[in-house]
């Protein structure tokens, strides 16, 4: 397994040097003679952090927080559900594991990968703008805006996980007469499922964060409330809303741990 010796300026090393050069150049570009935080901001920052210990906890505001959290969670779940469906179908095709010939495999992989790249190249916020313009301020705009890039991301990851399944159990299935569809059902999917699930949960977390930000474009949710409270400089309310967001992420984390544990058992 001897590999030819790499010369000093080759491949990976060249990329590393280019990145290092970019870093040095970017530090060069900083104008060090100006303060990094502008002076007037310090007072506002102090107010903001003072409010950290006094979050707004009045029942009426908590009801608002709960409703906003509900909206955010609903958008995130709507988006991720569509994304899992589309990402799974596209991911299976993009993995090329169902193709019989190698030309078929490569056209499948290249075609679907291109589509997946297109879907995720555009950020969910940009999709949200587009959908708000196209279909107005509706929950559907937020859900679709999430679903499209997330399908692209999940599809790509699913396809890679399906490709990376160890070959031995699969070839044992083939010698037992299984077709590639059956190899998918009895080998690839059961083996890949824990990894796919774990990544999907991680993406659900991301979807919650994204759904919260999404509401800045004008649909209801935690982000929308944060914007309103910030506009009125009610920092205590901002913190309550942020804690709600953290709480949601923690809940998803707990849920994911629980599901994965019951899957491994």
């Amino acid at each position: 397994m001897a590999r030819p010796r790499a010369t000093f300026l080759e491949g990976r090393r060249l990329v590393s040097l280019a990145l290092l050069a970019a870093l040095v150049w970017s530090i060069w570009q900083v104008q060090w003679d100006q303060p990094i935080i502008h002076g007037g901001g310090i007072g506002a920052a102090a107010d903001l952090f003072r409010a950290l210990v006094t979050p707004e906890l009045s029942p009426s505001f908590l009801a608002t927080v709960l409703k906003a959290s509900w909206h955010t969670v609903a958008y995130a779940f709507g988006g991720i559900t569509l994304a899992v469906g589309a990402g799974f179908s596209l991911g299976v095709i993009a993995s090329g594991v169902l193709a019989r010939s190698s030309t078929g495999r490569w056209s499948m992989i290249v075609g679907t990968r291109g589509l997946l790249a297109l879907m995720r190249a555009i950020h969910e916020l940009v999709w949200a703008w587009l959908f708000v313009v196209a279909i107005g301020l509706s929950p559907m705009a937020a859900i679709l805006a999430l679903a499209i890039p997330y399908s692209g991301i999940l599809g790509r990851i699913y396809s890679e996980i399906l490709q990376d399944v160890p070959e031995e159990p699969l070839s044992a299935l083939r010698t037992a007469g299984a077709s590639e569809w059956q190899v998918l059902l009895y080998g690839r999917l059961p083996i890949a499922l824990p990894d796919m699930l774990s990544y999907t949960f991680y993406r659900l977390e991301c979807a919650i964060r994204a759904a919260a930000v999404m509401s800045f474009v004008g649909v209801a949710g935690l982000g929308f409330q944060i914007q309103i409270s910030l506009d009125d400089l009610r920092f205590s309310e901002v913190w309550t809303l942020l804690f709600a967001l953290v709480g949601l992420i923690l809940l998803i984390d707990l849920w994911s741990t629980w599901v994965r544990r019951s899957l491994v058992r």
Binding site: E168, P169, S171, A172, L173, R174, T175, A176, G177, A178, S179, W181, Q182, L185, Y186, G187, P190, I191, L193, P194
Partner: protein
């Protein structure tokens, strides 16, 4: 008449089979005829081409040159897997089960060659031909594990699951690639007994690669020795003597004891 090459239509006829991998010549002009019901042990030092021979016989890889037929049909024409699965079953050293599936689905995987895609999908929810799996697991003495997750079984139990899969697949030929290589002598003996038992049930032809002369003499009718991809000897086991073996394992400095 198990060992007589003229008894019936041969199961395997290999003529001038050669297989070359980038690194080395794995098989060099192999001629081999195997009759139904024969138990053939393939001996030879590591890297002598045992696995390549089994892969060609299992239709896993095509030979570069030469012809290989099973029951009169060229192996390369059957390599779709489905037709071949009724004829040839393979068992590996690592059993190659899907650890995440319950035992029953690993056993029923032996039926996939006979099932449609829809039926195999349905079977994951509502096991099809369940009685076949139950019978096979009963023969192997682990029917109580039928719904257990396969990864939670011991090595010996997983071995039995792999055997049960072979039983429900019901091939006419069993190919075993170093089935006992990583086992202690007692387990190796137990596995050979199981394999023999499974093969006796439907008078299977067995071709297995192994390193143990003791097991070869006990469970096989014929021994072939491979060295550097060439056929070194091909004898009934009673003619297998130390002279042949020493010669086979000579330069490599290995010996073929248990």
């Amino acid at each position: 008449m198990k060992t007589s090459p003229n008894a019936a239509q041969p199961v395997y006829v290999l003529e001038g089979v050669t297989k070359t991998y980038p690194a080395a010549r794995a098989l060099d002009a192999i001629d081999l005829t195997i009759s139904p019901g024969e138990r053939v042990a393939v001996l030879g030092p590591s890297g002598s081409g045992k696995t390549s021979l089994l892969h060609v016989m299992g239709g896993v890889v095509p030979p570069d040159t030469g012809t290989a037929t099973i029951e009169g049909q060229p192996l390369t024409g059957l390599s779709a897997g489905r037709e071949l699965a009724g004829m040839v079953g393979m068992i590996h050293q690592q059993y190659d089960l899907v650890p995440h599936l319950p035992v029953i689905h690993n056993v029923l995987a032996g039926r996939l060659g006979r099932w449609s895609t829809m039926r195999s999908l349905l079977s994951l929810v509502l096991p099809q031909e369940r009685n076949l799996a139950v019978d096979a697991l009963e023969i192997l003495g682990i029917s109580d594990k039928i719904n257990e997750r396969t990864s939670r079984l011991s090595g010996g139990e997983q071995q039995r699951v792999a055997m049960a899969r072979l039983l429900v697949q019901a091939p006419r030929v069993i190919l075993a690639d170093e089935p006992v290589a990583s086992l202690d002598p007692a387990r190796a003996e137990a596995l050979m007994l199981l394999l023999n038992d499974v093969a006796d049930r439907s008078n299977n032809t067995v071709v297995a690669s192994l390193h143990s002369v003791h097991l070869t003499r006990k469970y096989f009718s014929r021994a072939i020795g491979l060295r550097r991809g060439r056929m070194h000897f091909d004898v009934p086991v009673d003619l297998l003597d130390d002279g042949l073996l020493n010669d086979l394992y000579d330069i490599e400095g290995l010996d073929g004891e248990t």
